[in-house]
């Protein structure tokens, strides 16, 4: 029974078209290319404001070498937040529930930050493996621990996003199924379950935005260490 609850996350195909392709290409219709007008419409102004503010926020703690990453970090934020939020609509597919997608994004970007650090400032990058002020006998153990925590970062990034979104969607499916089934037998309980579903949906909206932000923020932090 539990197996069928995860069916909503199978890469769906419809009439032979993998819906993942649609879910990855169609959301960008919501981002029209701005014209060269001085004053754009409301949607474009909002998006421009968001892009501007977000870039400023993310680049403030980064040194100048990290500013080359502005475009890719902002694009990543727009990518993730759009996919997450659109996935909350009924009958949509959220590509970010796929571990493959999240790992595909997290692993190369994390690796890029590590390689940049090792190439430009190898001593400082390796120095991050030993926290300041550790007692001498603990040094070997701590280096091993820090190396493991470094290597686990891309996995953590990918799995965090996947797990949060998968769990949220699964909870929504469970509570909505429960509310629907209870409607005929115990309407009062069904109403309570519907209220729970409503609150859960609000939570999921917040989680969708927060998780996208956390992903990009952590990447910028990894970049900060290495640039």
């Amino acid at each position: 029974m539990t197996v069928s609850l995860f069916d909503q996350f199978m890469s769906p195909t419809y009439l032979g078209i993998p819906l993942l392709a649609l879910a990855l290409t169609l959301p960008w219709i919501f981002f029209p290319s701005p014209t060269s007008r001085w004053l754009n419409n409301r949607l474009l102004t909002l998006q421009a404001w968001f892009i501007n503010r977000f870039t400023q926020q993310i680049l403030t703690p980064l040194s100048l070498g990290g500013h080359k990453w502005a475009l890719i970090l902002t694009s990543l934020m727009v990518f993730l937040i759009t996919l997450n939020i659109l996935g909350l609509l009924p009958y949509t597919f959220t590509p970010t529930t796929q571990l493959s997608l999240n790992l595909a994004l997290a692993f190369p970007l994390w690796l890029a930050t590590v390689l940049i650090g090792l190439r430009n400032q190898p001593t400082a990058a390796l120095g991050h493996l030993l926290p300041e002020g550790t007692p001498t006998p603990l040094i070997p153990v701590l280096v091993i621990i820090e190396t493991i925590s470094l290597l686990i970062r891309p996995l953590a990034l990918g799995v965090r996003l996947t797990a949060n979104l998968t769990a949220g969607h699964l909870l929504m499916q469970l509570t909505s199924t429960a509310a629907f089934v209870l409607l005929s037998m115990m309407p009062a309980v069904a109403i309570l379950t519907t209220i729970l579903l409503f609150l859960l949906t609000l939570l999921e909206v917040a989680v969708a935005m927060i998780q996208a932000y956390v992903f990009v923020l952590l990447l910028s932090l990894y970049l900060q260490e290495n640039v």
């Binding site: 993942l20 501007n52 790992l103 994004l105």
Partner: protein, 55 residues
């Protein structure tokens, strides 16, 4: 867990990076912010008094 099914993994990875690299940066870059921030001048400009012109 169907997400762990390895069959579409490569396709998903390739396709997601393709959209991420090809579609998004032009849309982000297309937003232009033509208001150059005004540089702070070292000299304070003398404040001109202003009064209602019809008085």
């Amino acid at each position: 867990m169907p997400q762990l099914n390895p069959a579409p993994w490569l396709a998903i990875m390739v396709f997601s990076w393709l959209t991420f690299l090809i579609i998004l940066p032009p849309k982000v870059m297309a937003h232009l912010f033509p208001n150059e921030p005004a540089l702070q001048s070292t000299q304070e400009s003398k404040a001109d008094t202003w009064n209602w012109p019809w008085l």
